[in-house]
């Protein structure tokens, strides 16, 4: 009897190793992962990679097209665009990840509490989120950034708060769909506390939408940050920020298109890479898709 029951061969892949093994099967996800890792390395080692300082002006060589000296050309002050894009990866990644981090934690907490306990608390939290959602997120971010004042840290808070409601809603929805499943009741029946049930049983079961939303969210956060920088509420010059560089190059787009092309490419590549990685992770993290 027991041989028959045990006939399925056990699979040896578990945990992070297994997720990575499955991730490796998707070429796009690996491409995304490689690009994200490269971006992070570039950001970390910007000092060693960039040939010039990000604020080093050389008015004699302003508006130079891409060349061996200046791979991506120079801007109106003769600053090396390649170096600025390299340094800009620091700002963009920081803003993107930290803002989304703030949003995921705040939104995740509010959403989980709201979905799990329900009732009046749920109503209170979600109506608050609805109020935030009813304001266009870019306007909300502008309002928050304007009231906090410009600066990198305030920018992250502004972008984070403005996307918190999205995460709260997503997490609440997932929690609601999982809360009434029998295994949650079973967890209660073995004596687990609410906190333990939320952290160990419910949250791990709603990771997939959070991950997907977070990767998209990093992209959106980078764009929102760029938008805020564009109107002067975000990063202040001369700190290089891709979005700010993009809007700076906008004035010269007819004659010196490379000034917008390269920061634009940098944004596009990062966002694309994050999306590839996120989609791959979603597939890899979902045990139902394991083969």
């Amino acid at each position: 009897m027991s041989e028959q029951i045990n006939k399925q061969p056990g699979q040896s892949m578990h945990g992070i190793g297994a997720v990575f093994a499955r991730l490796r099967r998707s070429p796009l996800a690996m491409l995304g992962l490689a690009a994200v890792i490269a971006l992070v390395l570039i950001a970390v080692f910007a000092d060693y990679i960039a040939p010039y300082g990000y604020a080093a002006q050389d008015l004699m060589s302003a508006f130079e097209p891409p060349s061996a000296n200046h791979w991506f050309g120079t801007d109106e002050f003769g600053r090396d665009l390649f170096s600025r894009i390299i340094y800009g990866s620091r700002i963009s990644l920081q803003v993107g990840f930290i803002a989304v981090g703030i949003a995921v934690f705040a939104g995740g907490f509010l959403g989980a509490v709201s979905g799990y306990y329900g009732g009046r608390l749920d109503n209170l939290i979600m109506r608050g989120m609805d109020i935030l959602l009813s304001i266009p997120s870019i306007l909300l971010a502008i309002a928050i950034a304007a009231s906090l004042g410009p600066g990198l840290f305030n920018l992250m808070i502004a972008v984070g708060i403005s996307s918190t409601p999205n995460y709260a809603r997503i997490v609440r929805g997932s929690v609601l769909s999982i809360r009434n499943q029998e295994f949650v009741e079973a967890a209660k029946a073995v004596g687990s506390s609410d906190l333990r049930i939320i952290l160990k049983h419910i949250i791990p079961n709603c990771m997939a939408p959070i991950i997907v939303q977070s990767t998209l969210g990093v992209a959106i956060a980078i764009l929102t940050a760029a938008g805020l920088s564009f109107i002067g509420l975000g990063i202040q010059p001369p700190v290089p920020e891709w979005g700010a560089m993009l809007s700076g190059g906008r004035e010269y787009i007819r004659d010196y298109a490379y000034m917008t092309i390269f920061p634009g490419l940098a944004i596009m590549i990062s966002i694309l890479a994050l999306n590839f990685l996120g989609d791959g992770l979603r597939d890899a993290l979902d045990p139902k898709l394991k083969q």
Binding site: S2, N6, Q11, E182, V190, G191, K200, K290
Partner: protein, 337 residues
Amino acid sequence: MEDRKLILDIQDLSIQYRVEGGTVHAVENLNLALGYGENLGFVGETGAGKTTTALGIMRLVPDPPGRITSGRILFEGADLLRKTEDEMRSIRGGKIAMIFQDPMTSLNPVMTVDKQIAEMVLLHNDVTERQALDRAVEMLELVGIRSERARDYPHQFSGGMKQRVVIAIALACNPILLIADEPTTALDVTIQAQVLELMRELRRKINTSLVMITHDLGIVAEMCDKVAIMYAGRVVEYATTEALYNRPVHPYTEGLFNSIPDIDRDEEELKVIQGLMPDPTNLPSGCPFHPRCPYAVESCSREAPGMVEIEPGHLVACPVRTEHRLNSVGWKGGAGR
């Protein structure tokens, strides 16, 4: 009444659900007793209140909308309804364990099975994670799952094996009371037999008391010493399995047995109990079974019957039938009324 030591003694338990359009009387004045090491079969139709009673014992009735409105649940002599939430948490799983109906959904899909068993062990014992995992593997082997499969996810198991895992979780802390809520309903008949066999074997080893919720009288005959028949939130007949199967008294019990086709006879039609379970928000007055009862007399719609002991350990909530029976059999125990 014999003074055996009771592990579970439910007295006048009432549980209600408040919903739009009224109050559902899921359990009404339920009385039930279970001795150490005994097996109780808890039989009734869907909606009779069996699962609600089980959840009530665990104090897991979803609130809102559910509420335990009255009664006492004495477990080892102490009233569970007076315990704090913290005390209940250590009782759940530690002393009273529960097996859920559907093994497909009662395991966390993103956790390996050994971790799910270990969680139970960690919650109730002062052990390291390593020891808990070792215990998990031990439990898996006990229920007939090889240790190589310990680190698999639930979806990699078949239904019968998942139920084995659920049983392993329930028994991991050697509970003294096990509540099995239709443990085999979701399984094939052959797998049912295996799981029941396994439960019987393990019960011998671990020596727990068992409350087996089911609507399958066959399973009860195989597994249980005592049977409680439930109808519309009340226990209508409570007896030893032997007495109940040989001498059913309550008309509802009789109806249940009549509706099982006889394997040796050609039967054109199944005998059924006329009518349907009453709407639980609007139970009939008096005995809830009287609108469907072939023996009903006028007083049935007025007075709710109490439980009467017609022979030692055999309690029935039907004055009409008990009187009839006492007259014909001439047993002169408790005067029936």
